[in-house]
C-alpha cells in the first residue's frame, strides 16, 4: 500500500512539538524519543498536556510547531486514517451499531485485508472473548468493552498503539487485573504502546519508561524505579508516591556526601542524589524509609529529634504516623508492622532516623508542595 499505515516502523520521535490553543500553551517545546517495542507512559495531572500530546501523535490535533516521526516517516501533517497508529480511546468509543466482530474487523476492512475472519478470531482469542463475537457493544461489561477496544486497535498491527486513560472507567479490582493483562498483551504482540494516564500506580505497573508531564513540559523521564528513587524535581517527588520535603542548607561537604542543616539539626545526603543550584536545598525522604522511635532511643545514621506524634492511623500491614517537628512541619512516616511492637501513641515524643543513602536533595528554590494537591482527572 502507498500509505504509511503498513510501511512505517521504528522509533517514535517528537521534536520540539508545541501546541497552543489561543493564548494557552498545552504542550510546550516537547522533544521525546520512544523506542520501538517499548511500553511508554505519559503521566501527569489533568491539563498537563499529555492527552494533547497523544492526540497529536494520533493525528486528531495538528501541532503548532515541531515534527513527529515514526522511524524515518514524517507523520506531522498526515491524516489520522493514513497513520500507522491506532488508539484505544477513553470510554472505548466502540461502534454501537456494529457487532463485536465487525467492530474488530473495521480497520481490516477499510484497508482491504483478505483474511479478516482469521485475524479477528485470532485477536479475539488473544483477549479471551471469542464467544462474544456476535454481541453488540452495549451487551458487554466495562472490562469486556475495554478488551474489545484493545483488540480493535491491535488487530491492525500498528507501529504504535496509543492508550488514552484506557482503564479510567473501570473499578479498582478490574483495573489491577487489566493492568497485568495489557502488559502481557504488549509483550505478546511486541508493539510500541504509548499510554496516557494520571494514575501513577497504573503507569508504574505497566510502563518500561515513564515521562512525568506538568504544564506542557516533561519534568522527568526514566524507569519507574529511577523516578521513584531519584526524583529531580519537587513535582516528581510528590506526584509519584509521597515525599517529605524539608527546607535546608548545605553547610559542609565530606567525601561523597553533603552535610545539610535542617533547622539546626545536621543530616547527610549523597552528592550524586543532590540536584541543587546553590546551597539552598529541599531535603527529601520517603515516608517508608523513616524509622520512628521513642525520643530516648539512640540510633546511628541520620536522625531528627524533637518530633511529636500528632496523628496515628493503623492500617494493618503498616501504621501511618504524622509527626510534628519543632519547626512546625508535619512529617509522614510509614512503619511496617513486622516487629511485633505495638504502635506508638498520639502525643508521644519521637525521633526519626534513616539510612543516609535513602535521602535526596532538590533545588531549594522550588515549591515544596508542587504536585501534592493536583486535581484528579476531570473526566
Amino acid at each position: 500500500m502507498a500509505d504509511a499505515s503498513t510501511s512505517a516502523k521504528g522509533d517514535l520521535k517528537l521534536a520540539n512539538v508545541t501546541k497552543s490553543f489561543g493564548e494557552f500553551t498545552a504542550v510546550d517545546d516537547l522533544s521525546l524519543v520512544i523506542p520501538e517495542g517499548s511500553f511508554f507512559a505519559l503521566l501527569g495531572p489533568s491539563g498537563c498536556g499529555k492527552t494533547t500530546t497523544l492526540r497529536m501523535i494520533a493525528g486528531l490535533e495538528v501541532p503548532t510547531a515541531g515534527t513527529i516521526h515514526v522511524g524515518n516517516t514524517d507523520i506531522t501533517d498526515m491524516r489520522p486514517y493514513k497513520r500507522p497508529v491506532n488508539t484505544v480511546f477513553q470510554n472505548y468509543a466502540l461502534f454501537p451499531h456494529l457487532s463485536i466482530f465487525e467492530n474488530v474487523a473495521f480497520g481490516l476492512r477499510r484497508r482491504g485485508i483478505k483474511d479478516v475472519k482469521e485475524q479477528v478470531d485470532k485477536v479475539l482469542n488473544l483477549v479471551e472473548l471469542p464467544h462474544l463475537a456476535e454481541r453488540k457493544p452495549t451487551q458487554l461489561s466495562g472490562g469486556q468493552q475495554q478488551r474489545i477496544a484493545v483488540a480493535r486497535a491491535i488487530v491492525n498491527r500498528p507501529a504504535l498503539l496509543l492508550l488514552d486513560e484506557p482503564l479510567g472507567a473501570l473499578d479498582l479490582k478490574l483495573r489491577r487485573q487489566m493492568q497485568i493483562e495489557l502488559k502481557w498483551i504488549q509483550t505478546e504482540v511486541g508493539l510500541t504502546f504509548v499510554h496516557v494516564t494520571h494514575d501513577q500506580e497504573e503507569a508504574m505497573t505497566m510502563a518500561d519508561t515513564i515521562a512525568v508531564m506538568n504544564e506542557g513540559r516533561i519534568e522527568q523521564m526514566g524507569s519507574p524505579a529511577d523516578l521513584y528513587d531519584n526524583p529531580k524535581t519537587a513535582f516528581v517527588a510528590n506526584f509519584l508516591g509521597q515525599s517529605n520535603l524539608i527546607q535546608g542548607k548545605i553547610v559542609d561537604s565530606d567525601g561523597d556526601s553533603h552535610v545539610v542543616d535542617l533547622y539546626g539539626q545536621k543530616v547527610s545526603v549523597l552528592k550524586r542524589r543532590t540536584v541543587a543550584k546553590d546551597s539552598s536545598v529541599l531535603f527529601g525522604i520517603r515516608p517508608e524509609k523513616l524509622r520512628i522511635q521513642p525520643d530516648s532511643h539512640d540510633k546511628p545514621g541520620n536522625v531528627l529529634t524533637g518530633g511529636k506524634i500528632s496523628d496515628v492511623s493503623y492500617i494493618g500491614v503498616s501504621t501511618q504516623y504524622q509527626v510534628e517537628m519543632p519547626w512546625g512541619q508535619e512529617i509522614m512516616v510509614f512503619e511496617q508492622n513486622d516487629d511485633g511492637v505495638p504502635p506508638l501513641d498520639k502525643g508521644d515524643e519521637v525521633r526519626l532516623s534513616w539510612e543516609p543513602i535513602f535521602s535526596f536533595a532538590l533545588d531549594g528554590n522550588e515549591d515544596a508542595t508542587a504536585g501534592v494537591d493536583v486535581e484528579p482527572e476531570a473526566e
Partner: protein, 295 residues
C-alpha cells in the same frame, strides 16, 4: 396466609399497580374523546348511503367495501398526487435537513441553541401566512422568479407558482423543522469519539460518514421522514395556495366534500381510505427500516 399479615403488604402493592393507569387516564380520556369517538363516527358516516348507486328515494345505506372502493376509484389522481408530492417533499426536506442538523450537532459549538431556536422560529408565525409568503417568494415579483429570469430559464409569460413544483416546495419548507429536530437529536447523541475512532481505523471522512455517522443517525432519519411524510400527504393548505386545479391533493378533496359540497359520506370514506393507506405505508416502511436493529 394470615389475612391480618397480608393486608398491610397488599395495600401499597395494589396502589403501585394502579398508579400507572392513573397516570395514563388523562391521555386515554383525551384519545377516546378526540380520536376514537370521531373515528367511529367517521366510519359510521362513511356508510350513511350507497355512494355508487345513490337513490334519494330509498335512503339505502352503503357497504364498507363498496363505498371505500368507490371513493378510491373516483379519486385515484388526488390520492396519487398526495403520496408523490409528500414523497418528493420528504426527500427534499431530508436533503436540506440532514446537513443542517449535522452542522448544528457537530460544528455549531456555542451557537447550537441559537440555531435550534431559528429552526423552530417559523412556528411563531401562522402556517397559512408562511404559505402565502411563499406565493410572494415564488411569484413574478419575487427573488426566485427574478433569478430564473436572469438565467433565461423562464420567460415573462411563464410562472412558477400555481404548479406542482410550488406545492412541493411549500410542503418541503413547511415540514422542514419536523425533519430537522429528530435528525438533530439522533446526530447529537453520537459520541464524537466514535467518529475519531473511525478515522483512527483507516476510514476517511466519507467512509466514516457512510459506515458510522449515517447508520447511527438512522433512527432520526426514520422519525424525521415519518413526521414529514404523514402530515405532508394529508396537507391541503399548500395545494390550495400554491397549486392549481390540476395539483389537487386528497386533503383538498376531503376539505371540499366536507365543507362545500357537504357530501359527508364521500368525505368520510375518502378520509378512511387515506388513513388505511398511510398506516400501510408506515408499517411497511418501519419493517423495512428495521429500527430495532439500530440501537
Amino acid at each position: 396466609m394470615n389475612a391480618t399479615v397480608a393486608s398491610p403488604v397488599k395495600k401499597p402493592r395494589s396502589r403501585k399497580i394502579a398508579m400507572p393507569y392513573l397516570l395514563l387516564l388523562p391521555g386515554m380520556l383525551w384519545l377516546i374523546t378526540f380520536f376514537l369517538i370521531p373515528i367511529l363516527t367517521l366510519v359510521k358516516t362513511s356508510v350513511n348511503m350507497d355512494l355508487a348507486n345513490y337513490d334519494p328515494t330509498t335512503g339505502a345505506t352503503g357497504s364498507f367495501w363498496g363505498n371505500f372502493w368507490y371513493a378510491f376509484r373516483t379519486h385515484e389522481a388526488p390520492f396519487a398526487r398526495s403520496f408523490i408530492y409528500a414523497l418528493a417533499a420528504t426527500l427534499i426536506a431530508l436533503c436540506i435537513a440532514y446537513p443542517l442538523a449535522y452542522g448544528i450537532a457537530f460544528k455549531a459549538g456555542r451557537w447550537k441553541n441559537v440555531l435550534l431556536v431559528l429552526v423552530v422560529a417559523p412556528f411563531f408565525t401562522s402556517f397559512i401566512l408562511r404559505t402565502i409568503a411563499w406565493k410572494q417568494i415564488l411569484g413574478q415579483q419575487g427573488p426566485v422568479f427574478r433569478l430564473l429570469l436572469d438565467l433565461h430559464l423562464v420567460t415573462y409569460q411563464s410562472h412558477i407558482t400555481a404548479s406542482a413544483g410550488a406545492v412541493i416546495a411549500g410542503l418541503s419548507y413547511n415540514f422542514l423543522p419536523f425533519m430537522t429536530l429528530p435528525l438533530y437529536s439522533s446526530l447529537e447523541r453520537i459520541d464524537p469519539r466514535t467518529l475519531e475512532a473511525s478515522g483512527d481505523l483507516y476510514a476517511n471522512a466519507f467512509t466514516t460518514f457512510r459506515k458510522v455517522t449515517l447508520p447511527l443517525s438512522l433512527p432520526g432519519v426514520v422519525a424525521g421522514t415519518l413526521l414529514t411524510f404523514i402530515p405532508a400527504a394529508g396537507d391541503y393548505v399548500n395545494a390550495e395556495i400554491l397549486g392549481n386545479p390540476s395539483t389537487t391533493m386528497i386533503g383538498n378533496v376531503i376539505n371540499a366534500q366536507f365543507l362545500r359540497t357537504s357530501n359527508y359520506t364521500l368525505a368520510a370514506a375518502l378520509s378512511f381510505v387515506f388513513m388505511v393507506i398511510i398506516i400501510a405505508i408506515v408499517l411497511f416502511y418501519i419493517s423495512r427500516a428495521g429500527t430495532e436493529e439500530l440501537v
